[in-house]
Amino acid sequence: MNALLQQLQNRQLIWQASQTEAPYEHCQSTGFTALDKFLGGGWPAHNVVELQSHGACAELQLIQKALAGSGSELLQIWINPPASLCAEYLLQQKRPLHQVLQLNAPRSADALWAAELCLKSGSCKDVLLWQNSLNLTQLKRLQLAAEQGQSQLYFFRPAQAEQQLLPWALSLQLIPTPAGLQIRILKRKGGWQQQELVLPWAELYPQFIKPELQHEQHGRPPLSRVS
């Protein structure tokens, strides 16, 4: 019986409850206490994280504190961002502009090649990639490259109805609700499905949402002529 168990364990067919404590080797704190607890520590370090959303719903804000924690000696790479970058925003995040590279790769093969090269180069810490699809082999390559270069890939993708099951270390779906950003875990290595977490907008956008004012909302901008 014991031998059989051992055999099954060697083939990684048995999941042990003790594994839930530390599902990843290393974690990087997200900077949000509730989210850290929800994710069991934070973002898995040196790996690929998927964020599914319709865009413009605080998905960058979610990883911003982790990006700031990476320090500014190494490059930050943005591959195929949905619109042009705002320099003032990057400076607000204390990121030197010449340490940021934006790549435009119209062909998805080129974008993936660039992401892999940057990840394994050892001279970048964070790579942000916007792409619509990814298959198993491509994901594996990116994960190995991230591990080799000790870097992190954030993979942004539009929310899709049909799901191909991929071995992400962490895959999140982000849905904006009136109360805040609803975060659902689609896949988490060594974890199990939990209920959703709603992160209030005031925590995500502290610079313009004051919690005490949040309930009192204007319907439309005041459109009187100001002279």
Binding site: L75, C86, A87, L97, Q102, I175
Partner: protein, 498 residues
């Protein structure tokens, strides 16, 4: 005394053109491993290089086995071996190869002169002190020649002419003993002594067969009988008058051409010959302690057409393998208009070599892991595949309007900082040009923050006054909106919070 100590080394390359063909075939087939086209020379079958006067000048081993000898006429050669392949002799190309060899050897010997008949004269005596002995010096030279891969004969002597006679005879001895050299010289038949044609005939009629016979006769007698030509010859032979030689100077510019063995139609085939060129570049840069930043590669095609590639490296590289990687990425994207027949590589920008900026004990990488590429190397590779304009860094201009303030600069270039405090509320992405919202979309907006007024300078042509708001649309997306005070009913999307 110093006159007595002078020694010269003569290197004679009997079949430069043929050796070049063999070398080229080795590099191209080893790398591309592809099948041969029809007009391609088969170097294992009999092959001869033919001079302008239809004499065989160089033969490969198969041709020698077929019974051909050097200096044979075309007609007799064809009758001995009917499948003989002929290649016209290219004296100019040989001279170029000789020049290249001389540049290689310049690293080890300061005084090198080119000779018309495929030979190099090296002045040994000043170099011997430097190398601590003749044999050490000769080993260095041999190493270079072996790497170059050409067949050669050599001889040393106190006079350039004597060294040349012995080398062309194939003596192949590196000796610094006068008496042995003199002995060898004396045994040299008069036909091979490179005497002027007329003199040779006259001497042979007198019954002289070896140089020894000539040297026994008193000089004054010989000169009185045969005139000034004989005097000059004897002076060169005995070293009574120093030889007139023009020593080479190291080249200032790196520019190398490579004739391809056959036409290449696919760009990946070019990597084999390119590796050869980059090897030469590496040697050139190493000797000068330099790094290359920009190279120009010309692909010459039939009918004088050509395509040019600019190869860049932001960090500067000298190693052949790094340049090969960069050119591989660019060649992948390149579509050849026509088959390529010749490659030309020239160095456009180079600089002194400093210590490489790879972090050895990298902070974030664990112990025992070295950085694969530095930031600048990474940039060069990305630019090579994606194109230079597709890789850029954001930059900030001193302007109030967001669309003027944010733009792009060339990658990784440090920018001048702008004084003043940063605005509090800025989105991550900007929409260009700003997107006008229709009435229905405006109805569904939910306002969260604003207004923040931005006014551009009155001194500018089109002075703008805008009120900025943060709002959420019906999908829950966070927008950065503004309205122009000239037409306050219309809202525009300037950016997305993300």
């Amino acid at each position: 005394m110093s006159e007595r100590m002078e020694f010269w080394l003569y290197l004679y390359f009997p079949q430069l053109q043929l050796d070049k063909l063999l070398l080229l075939q080795n590099t191209t087939t080893a790398l591309s491993g592809q099948n041969k086209s029809n007009n391609y020379l088969n170097l294992t079958a009999p092959l001869a290089i033919v001079g302008a006067d239809h004499q065989l000048l160089q033969l490969n081993s198969a041709a020698r086995q077929a019974g051909l000898t050097l200096g044979m006429g075309l007609a007799s050669a064809a009758s001995l071996c009917h499948q003989l392949q002929l290649v016209p002799h290219q004296a100019e190309q040989e001279q170029q190869q000789l020049q290249q060899l001389a540049q290689l050897l310049y690293q080890y010997c300061g005084d090198i002169a080119l000779q018309a008949d495929s030979g190099l004269v090296l002045k040994l005596s000043p170099m011997l002190a430097l190398y601590g002995g003749a044999m050490q010096f000769w080993q260095q030279i041999q190493q270079v020649l072996q790497q170059a891969g050409y067949q050669y004969h050599f001889a040393t002597a106190q006079q350039p002419l004597v060294a040349r006679l012995l080398a062309q005879q194939g003596w192949d001895q590196f000796l610094l003993q006068k008496d042995k050299i003199q002995q060898q010289l004396k045994a040299l038949p008069l036909q091979q002594a490179q005497l002027p044609e007329k003199l040779l005939e006259q001497l042979q009629r007198l019954g002289l067969a070896q140089l020894d016979d000539l040297l026994k006769i008193p000089q004054a007698e010989l000169v009185r009988r045969f005139g000034i030509e004989m005097l000059q010859y004897l002076q060169q032979l005995t070293g009574a008058k120093p030889a007139l030689l023009q020593f080479i100077q190291p080249v200032e510019q790196f520019e190398q051409q490579l004739e391809l063995l056959y036409e290449m139609e696919r760009s990946d085939q070019l990597l084999g010959p390119l590796k050869h060129l980059f090897g030469l570049l590496q040697l050139y840069l190493q000797q000068r302690e330099q790094l290359a930043y920009q190279l120009e590669l010309s692909l010459l095609q039939r009918q004088d057409q050509q395509q040019q590639l600019q190869l860049h490296s932001a960090q500067g590289e000298y190693q052949s393998k790094d340049w090969l990687k960069i050119s591989e990425l660019q060649l992948e994207r390149l579509k050849l208009n026509k088959a390529v027949i010749q490659l030309k590589l020239s160095l456009r920008r180079a600089g002194p070599r400093y210590a490489q900026y790879k972090t050895l004990f990298a902070g974030h990488l664990g112990a025992g892991k070295a950085q694969l590429y530095s930031a600048l190397q990474l940039l060069s590779l990305l630019q090579a595949r994606l194109g230079k304009e597709q890789v850029k860094s954001p930059c900030l201009h001193n302007d109030l309007l967001p669309e003027q303030a944010s733009s792009y600069a060339s990658a990784l270039e440090p920018q001048a900082s702008i004084a003043g405090s940063l605005a509090a509320v800025r989105p991550a992405f900007l929409v260009e040009p700003p997107l006008a919202l229709d009435a229905e979309q405006q109805q569904q907006l939910q306002l969260h923050y604003g207004p923040e007024r931005l006014s551009s300078g009155w001194w500018q042509q089109q002075s703008q006054h805008r009120d900025y708001y943060v709002a959420q649309n019906s999908q829950g997306q966070w927008l950065w909106l503004y309205r122009d005070l000239q037409q306050p009913e219309q809202l525009y999307v300037q950016g997305y919070f993300s």
